[in-house]
Symmetry: C2
Subunit: 280 residues, 2 copies
């Protein structure tokens, strides 16, 4: 497995694989890899003979008060993990090569980015859609794999890839959880021990929503109130940023939980904002 830092070298190595007829898979990441990422690499490997993992902490998707500086960067550890999961190439470009000084171009996806995390993180999805467009053009993958953990990101990228006619097959891998139900996230490492003990409350609240909906109590307002109560009880160290009950494709709020409804939430702890979701 090679680690490549420049765009021309990346293009050269990928082109050499493409010319041999090998399918190209791409798993975009910001590094600080965990089992969730590795499951996406394994998923990519099932459909693509040559899997590129990009590791790039993308400044364009961080707000001015967010954790860009402290976001964990540990390329050698990440590379070892990628290798065990079957990645063929790691692409870890420098910031100045991705965004040169006179950089000017942004990709925006309207509507889908207004609610949920988009409301709390203005500009975040513009940064995501922009860097993924760039990675699609650098790697030209046949298949790109994203995680359901970032449900809104997956919806935004699916829309962007379709709207801009990228000839890329879009695959979403399921959320990978710790034994106690906490969704794996690079930001879990920021939690204090007391917060870590309370963090599974996010998953419990999502399961409560599922249980309520399955037992016929489908009214979104009521479900949100019950989830809020459970979070207050189980995770008093956290502050609910949002609970969204939305159509899984359009991300528009729904009044009742019916087929293909996304229930998503974000909770702020002292130095980590955690998100999780479930499709009902």
């Amino acid at each position: 497995m090679k680690i490549v830092k420049t765009i021309p070298r990346l293009r050269q190595l990928v082109a050499a694989q493409r010319i041999k007829g090998r399918g190209i898979g791409l798993v975009p990441t910001m590094g600080a890899l965990h089992q969730g990422h590795l499951s996406l690499i394994r998923l990519a490997k099932r459909t693509s003979e040559f899997v590129v993992v990009s590791i790039f902490v993308n400044p364009a998707q961080f707000g001015p008060k967010e954790d860009l500086k402290k976001y964990p960067r540990e390329l050698q550890r990440d590379a070892a993990l990628c290798s065990t999961a079957g990645a063929d190439l790691i692409f870890a470009p420098r910031v100045q090569d991705v965004y040169p000084d006179d950089y000017r171009t942004y990709v925006t996806v309207e509507r889908l980015t207004d609610g949920l995390c988009g409301a709390s993180r203005p500009g975040h999805f513009r940064g995501v859609a922009t860097v993924v467009s760039k990675l699609f053009n650098m790697v030209r993958p046949d298949v790109a794999v994203f995680g359901q953990k970032d449900a809104q990101q997956a919806a935004v990228i699916r829309q962007m890839a379709r709207d801009l006619d990228f000839p890329v097959k879009f695959v979403v891998g399921p959320i990978v959880r710790e034994k106690d139900g906490l969704a794996m996230s690079s930001r879990n490492a920021y939690l204090t021990p007391a917060e870590r003990a309370q963090a599974p409350a996010l998953y419990h609240a999502l399961n409560l929503a599922k249980w309520l909906a399955r037992s016929g109590r489908r009214e979104a307002g009521m479900v949100k109130r019950e989830m809020t109560k459970m979070l207050a009880r189980e995770a008093p160290l956290g502050e609910v940023d949002y609970i969204g009950i939305v159509d899984n494709r359009t991300l528009e709020p729904v009044k009742k939980i019916t087929g293909d409804t996304l229930v998503a939430l974000a909770v702020r702890f002292s130095s980590a904002r955690l998100i999780d979701n479930i499709i009902i």
Copy 2:
């Protein structure tokens, strides 16, 4: 030469050429072709064995009060012209295939789009950058050819293609003029005979700027004043929309005409807004 209306058929025919090792050229147009367009097709043919001409009147680049409805559409005539110029394929998609009902994604290029035509036509260059991104992904050309007549468009697309890492070689073809100096444009057909007689004033004003600069009178404010006077004298039926003296790469206004300065102007007649430019 084939005329293709659907994206899958386009991809199929282009892929068949690519697999034979043929270089793919793209000339994006809105149809209503004239000798200017044909010169771009011939230019594309010099570097690419297989030249695609797209003909698409792009709603996203027209303002609400602009001439989208009346813009000339004459596919059979355009096809015949393309064929004589050496085009291999015409791609003429339907609006609903390019922008389906739930379309949401736009490409914006900051700064470069603030002045000149961008100031008079808000959203215009967003529409241009978006449709060209889409065409790049549909056709995946090796080379794309644009006209210097739309100087700001060329600068915006050059920046967009570089910023989003499209692996497309960017070529700009020179302005083609009528015998009296009027830059060829599909919108010249909207001019009344009296306006048509005055329209070469745009070119005369640009030549005045060149002559002033060459004779050492390089101060932009003075040059603009002299150009304005000439336009008032030679084209009283027109109203100056802007005269811009800018850096040819950044499109930022300059105070003095030095190397690689773009002098651009737009003049409104009763039912046509004409643009022209010169690089000094």
